[in-house]
């Protein structure tokens, strides 16, 4: 058993998200709304060596399969991530994330003067660009650190 495997042990059923940029695993959990309060078993490996990324994070969530929407949003902060759905200790589905055209209600606009940051009854909507996201209300473009826009749940 290698060091990496030791740090993040095998799971019976659930999802393994691999190839997350080093140090951003907690953002990934935030996107998925996983904070441990639901009792789910979560393992996180941070900054483990990776051939592809140099350093990567890994997240394993027991008894939870990611929905397509969740994978979409994940792609914004972890565009290289791979998703492995585990059933009975085996990888039953393996996929890469793909970028959606928009994300709704997930990010909050960094423009403090944007109408969506007030008490209006609307979800935020961001169009996804090749290299960032853009608020559909105020047009603000964010390229760096999209993860910091994730709405606290």
């Amino acid at each position: 058993m290698t060091d990496t495997e030791l740090r993040v042990s095998k799971i019976q059923d659930g999802t393994v998200i691999d190839h997350i940029p080093g140090g951003t695993a907690l953002h990934v959990l935030a996107v998925l709304g996983i904070d441990g309060s639901g009792g789910e078993e979560v393992s996180v490996g941070m900054n483990v060596p990776s051939d592809r990324l140099g350093r990567k994070d890994i997240v394993k969530v027991e008894d939870r399969e990611l929905s397509a929407d969740e994978v979409d949003v994940l792609s914004l902060i972890a565009p290289q991530a791979s998703i492995n759905i585990i059933r009975d200790y085996e990888v039953s589905e393996k996929s890469r994330v793909s970028r959606p055209t928009e994300v709704v209600g997930v990010l909050s606009c960094p423009n403090v003067n944007c109408i969506t940051t007030g008490d209006e009854p609307v979800d935020s909507v961001f169009d996804v660009l090749d290299d960032g996201v853009r608020c559909r209300y105020c047009d603000t473009i964010v390229r760096d650190d999209v993860a910091s826009l994730i709405e606290s749940t």
Partner: protein
């Protein structure tokens, strides 16, 4: 125009713009002849921040078309002060009026309003966002003076927060225009406007000095640099002085240069330009009425 709402310049095609400007020319020729056009139309004026001119211009336009206005009054005296959401205010006003003209201090306000109502919404300025009806009258003025083809336009001043600039830049991508943006580094065009200009393939250059391009320009569009954008008065003075023009500045300009300004100006255009053939800003302000008549006529 095939749109229910006018939110931003991006939604305007060349054909949309030309049809409004052509119709505006008819209203301009005889503004009193259309009093039967919309005799029952009620336009709600919802100004969440003050703008006497824009408001009066819309008010005049709808009255020239035979319609009338209902006015929200000042924010201080309205339910907004009590914390009502914009969405709720708009849904209430929708029940009163056939169209809504919205001026709001937050970017994206008009887009949000349009999602909640079925009557047409005109964005009359949303924060540092867009001001598309101003753009239509700007284009009308440009067309009258310089034409809209093979055009070299300089836009100078506060390009970062200047919503009239953002809308104008977007609309000009429909035409064969070379655009020069002249501002201090701290007040450059925002990233999203530059992104759209780039995407549209527009010919765009940015400068910090008007001298670099003045001689080429058909149109020089000047905007005010606002004092409150700067941490202290001396910094503001240092910058503002660089972007002020007077008759002498224009010695090197083309004889047929058209100088425009969305008004009100403070001192960025010296009064000695007013009497020259370059000055078109009062004419530009006047054009607000026929252009807004044409706009409302197409929407109501």
């Amino acid at each position: 125009m095939r749109h229910d709402h006018l939110i931003g310049a991006k939604q305007l095609s060349r054909a949309d713009i030309e049809s409004v400007l052509d119709r505006a020319a008819e209203f301009d020729a005889d503004p009193t002849a259309f009093a039967d056009a919309h005799p029952d139309a009620l336009l709600a004026l919802c100004f969440f921040e003050p703008s006497t001119r824009t408001k009066m211009s819309f008010e005049t336009a709808i009255k020239r078309l035979g319609g009338d206005t209902v006015d929200m009054g000042t924010v201080e005296s309205s339910s907004v002060k009590k914390g009502e959401s914009l969405a709720d205010t708009m849904r209430v006003v929708e029940g009163y009026a056939d169209g809504i003209v919205l001026r709001h201090p937050s970017e994206g306000a008009a887009r949000l309003a349009a999602e909640f109502v079925d009557v047409p919404v005109v964005n009359a300025g949303d924060g540092a966002g867009q001001h598309p009806s101003q753009t239509l009258l700007d284009l009308y003025t440009i067309r009258e003076n310089a034409g809209l083809d093979d055009l070299t336009v300089g836009v100078m001043g506060d390009l970062k927060y200047g919503r009239t600039v953002h809308s104008l830049a977007g609309a000009l991508t429909n035409f064969d225009a070379r655009m020069h943006f002249i501002s201090p580094d701290s007040l450059r065009l925002p990233r999203n406007v530059r992104f759209d200009l780039h995407e549209s393939g527009a010919v765009v250059k940015e400068h910090t000095d008007l001298d670099a391009v003045l001689e080429e320009l058909d149109v020089l569009y000047v905007t005010r640099i606002q004092r409150e954008r700067f941490p202290d008065e001396s910094e503001y003075r240092a910058v503002a002085g660089e972007y002020r023009i007077d008759a002498e500045t224009l010695n090197d300009a083309r004889d047929d240069l058209t100088v425009m300004h969305p008004l009100p100006r403070v001192d960025e255009i010296a009064p000695d330009i007013d009497d020259t053939d370059h000055a078109r800003y009062f004419e530009q302000a006047h054009n607000g009425v026929p252009v807004r008549m044409a706009l409302l006529d197409s929407m109501l």
